[in-house]
Amino acid sequence: MTDALRRREGSGAEDVALSDECIVERVRQGEVEAFGTLVGRWENRIYRLALRLLEHPEDAREVTQETFLAAFRKLHQFRGRARFSSWLYRIALNCCYDRLRERRVEPIPLEEAESIAAEEKVLGQIHKKQVAERVRRALHALPVEMRQVIILKEYEELTFEEIAEILDIPVSTAKTRLYAGLDHLRKRLEWLKDAL
């Protein structure tokens, strides 16, 4: 995935030519400015991931900064056994979990979410923006284990193997969590059936 996605993110030709691991090696050898290339290559994706998990732009921005600062400081610990992207995502997710723990936001119970959905259904025509807002709320109501798998798969377009590597879980567990998450969303977004 990573090469194709990297190209799509709009990095320069020189950046695309070098793999993340090559740049990491150059940074380790003292070429600190090369780390800026990695930041430019991944910051959008890390920011989007953080924003989808945290839902606060300022928190997402801070988490993005924290992620790259932590990655820069721990770069000597990166052994290359996993992909750099997986390692970076894992750092970002840990930063997000810290924020979520600080906030201690409880997920909305499924029954409550369904009653809210039923009320909203009678409001009439649903616009695209409203659909996006309902999707955001439905995702927010999911347990974080399901939410992160859905975000990594649906929005970050990672493979199940990559997700399993990032979360340090078996591939089958990643698939089961995704199934369970989609099953919850099916119930929560059932009222959108006619709008889509």
Binding site: L51, Q65, V131, P170, R177, Y179, L182, L185, R186, L192
Partner: protein
């Protein structure tokens, strides 16, 4: 390994279903699953529903505003105070965190003037306030001793006596002043009376002498020479 709690109506091919949904099956595996779909209404329904959910999920898009790269390149990437504090705490050893926590707790206790007092009954009393506590003055005893009462009464009596003395002195001074003024007025009136009386006496003597002279010596008398203009006419 699968430690996750799975939905109750989940087909055993659910993992294949998820892989098929995201196009992660090989061609052979996809063909096999499509054959399964024709036989399994549950999977077919799940597939339709999940595709609709994915369609809804696709509506939530985010347009990020990347700034981190430029800041990093310009050397401006600096952690916020909260980030720095968190990183400091993470970098600290456990004993360092304990010491910092203890110091913070002591600082807060000092800031809020927290006092812990042991009571004679064996318990303790906890007090805290934002401002320093002042030494509490003992409440006045409801039972006053006889000596104190006597002293207070003596003080009050002295006070009244002094006031009366000052009033008497003021009255005496006022009376003396009034007497002096009356005496002066009487003295002045007496002097005036004596003066007038003397003048009248002299006039009468002059008239008498003139009359005597007139009778003795004729028209011009000795009295006319010494008392001119006092002829009584």
């Amino acid at each position: 390994m699968n430690e996750e709690k799975t939905p109750s109506a989940m087909c055993e091919m659910s993992e294949k279903l998820i892989a098929y949904l995201y196009r992660e099956l090989s061609a052979d595996e996809a063909s096999a699953f499509e054959a399964h779909l024709k036989a399994c209404a549950q999977c077919a329904q799940d597939l339709r529903d999940f595709e609709r959910v994915r369609q809804a999920l696709a509506e939530w898009q985010i347009t990020p505003v990347p700034r981190v790269a430029s800041e990093f390149k310009s050397g401006l990437l600096r952690p916020s105070f909260r980030q720095a504090l968190r990183q400091l705490l993470l970098a600290m050893p456990a004993w360092g965190r304990v010491m910092l926590g203890g110091a913070t707790a002591l600082l807060l206790l000092a800031l809020f003037n927290v006092q812990l007092e042991w009571t004679p009954e064996g318990g303790f009393r906890f007090r805290a306030s934002l401002f320093p506590l002042r030494a509490v003055e003992p409440a006045p005893s409801s039972e006053m001793s006889a000596r104190e009462r006597q002293q207070i009464e003596q003080l009050i009596a002295d006070m009244f006596r002094d006031a009366e003395q000052r009033r008497q002195e003021a009255l005496a001074a006022s009376l003396q002043e009034m007497t002096e003024r009356l005496r002066e007025e009487q003295r002045a009136a007496l002097a005036d009376f004596v003066q007038k009386w003397n003048a009248e006496q002299r006039t009468q003597w002059a008239v008498l002498l003139r009359e005597l002279e007139r009778r003795r010596y004729g028209v011009l008398t000795f009295a006319d020479l010494f008392f001119p203009g006092q002829d009584g006419n």
